[in-house]
């Protein structure tokens, strides 16, 4: 696994495609336990990311990720803005000076990103948030010598689906207490698309 600037941009583009395609689905998930804007928020944010990232000449992965972070922060609008923004910012800082990035560097970036999300959201696992997808994926990267694309998707997918069983204790869904059980967390779903896109990049590159 060796990711160059162009791979990272492809990752962002693939993520954007999935999010635009599933915009209404994400919003519907947010309607059940939130304020029905997660699809709109993510669609606005990633649309802008892809728009801007395409127009620039990047020499480092870190710079692509940093711009992504800043755009998500200012464009997304909801809780997911500062959370994904912080994630990509920490990721960017974690891989600074490393180009292209191999699995070790990527794992370090993911770990830092997850730490950023948890710190920003004051959240841990089991609270029915995006953390519940990021955490097992990070863990998979850490314990696996040779990351397999399909295993990435599967880890993320399973984790996303498991958020159904959890009662929300963070974010807007937490107001619904027990009634939040039985629904997939919207931020977990969008995080799944991020990792599904990543898996496709790894597969293509592998």
């Amino acid at each position: 696994m060796e990711l160059h600037v162009k791979d990272i941009i492809q990752w962002l583009e693939k993520t954007n495609e999935k999010i635009q395609l599933n915009k209404d689905y994400l919003t519907a998930l947010d309607q059940a336990v939130g304020d029905s804007d997660h699809g709109i928020n993510m669609s606005r944010g990633f649309h802008e990311v892809v728009n801007q990232v395409k127009t620039k000449d990047y020499t480092t992965v870190s710079d692509v990720l940093k711009d992504t972070a800043m755009i998500l922060m200012s464009k997304v609008g909801g809780a997911s803005g500062p959370l994904f923004g912080t994630a990509f910012l920490r990721f960017s800082m974690g891989v600074k000076g490393i180009d292209p990035i191999n699995q070790d560097a990527f794992t370090k970036g993911l770990e830092d990103a997850l730490a950023g999300i948890m710190q920003r959201g004051k959240a841990t696992t089991g609270e029915k948030t995006m953390v519940d997808v990021w955490s097992p994926v990070v863990n998979y990267f850490k314990v696996t010598t040779n990351v397999q694309a399909d295993e990435v998707t599967q880890t993320a997918k399973q984790a996303m689906e498991q958020t159904k069983e959890i009662m929300a204790t963070k974010g807007r869904a937490s107001y619904f207490k027990e009634k939040s059980i039985g629904h997939i967390d919207p931020g977990a779903a969008s995080s799944f698309y991020i990792f599904e896109a990543l898996s496709e990049v790894i597969k293509g590159e592998g």
Binding site: M73, S74, G77, G78, A79, P82, G171
Partner: protein, 123 residues
């Protein structure tokens, strides 16, 4: 305006503006800046709006931020980190009631810490 600035962060631009009016009826000698809604003025918050509000509210005596629910806090925290070197404090008091108390205290010429403490004490 040698007074602590007040920033009103709300998911709704109407709430932020109405609150500013409510405060301005009582206190006129302090900076009160709104950061309500998303960039498109939809329901939500905007880090950029908050950062700009912090700068506009800062007259050298610091700025205290009030927010309404949930994610507004995360955006406020991010804005604070990025808005250095302004001296900023984030109040956990309820938006309307807290900002009203904070504005009266600031109007009396209190320091940022004093304003913050008075608000904390009131809730």
């Amino acid at each position: 305006m040698d007074r602590v600035g007040i920033v009103l962060i709300s998911h709704s631009s109407k709430i932020a503006e109405g609150l500013k009016e409510l405060i301005s009826q009582v206190i006129t000698n302090i900076p009160v800046i709104t950061a309500g809604g998303t960039e498109e003025n939809d329901i939500g918050t905007s880090i950029d709006k908050i950062m700009e509000a912090i700068h506009r509210a800062d007259y050298g005596k610091g700025v205290i931020l009030f927010y309404d629910i949930g994610s507004a806090k995360m955006n406020a925290e991010m804005a604070i980190e990025m808005a250095e070197p302004a001296e900023v404090m984030l109040s956990e008091a309820p938006l309307v009631e807290g900002a009203y108390v904070g504005a009266v205290e600031s109007g009396m010429g209190k320091s940022l810490q004093e304003v913050y403490d008075a608000v904390e004490k009131a809730f």
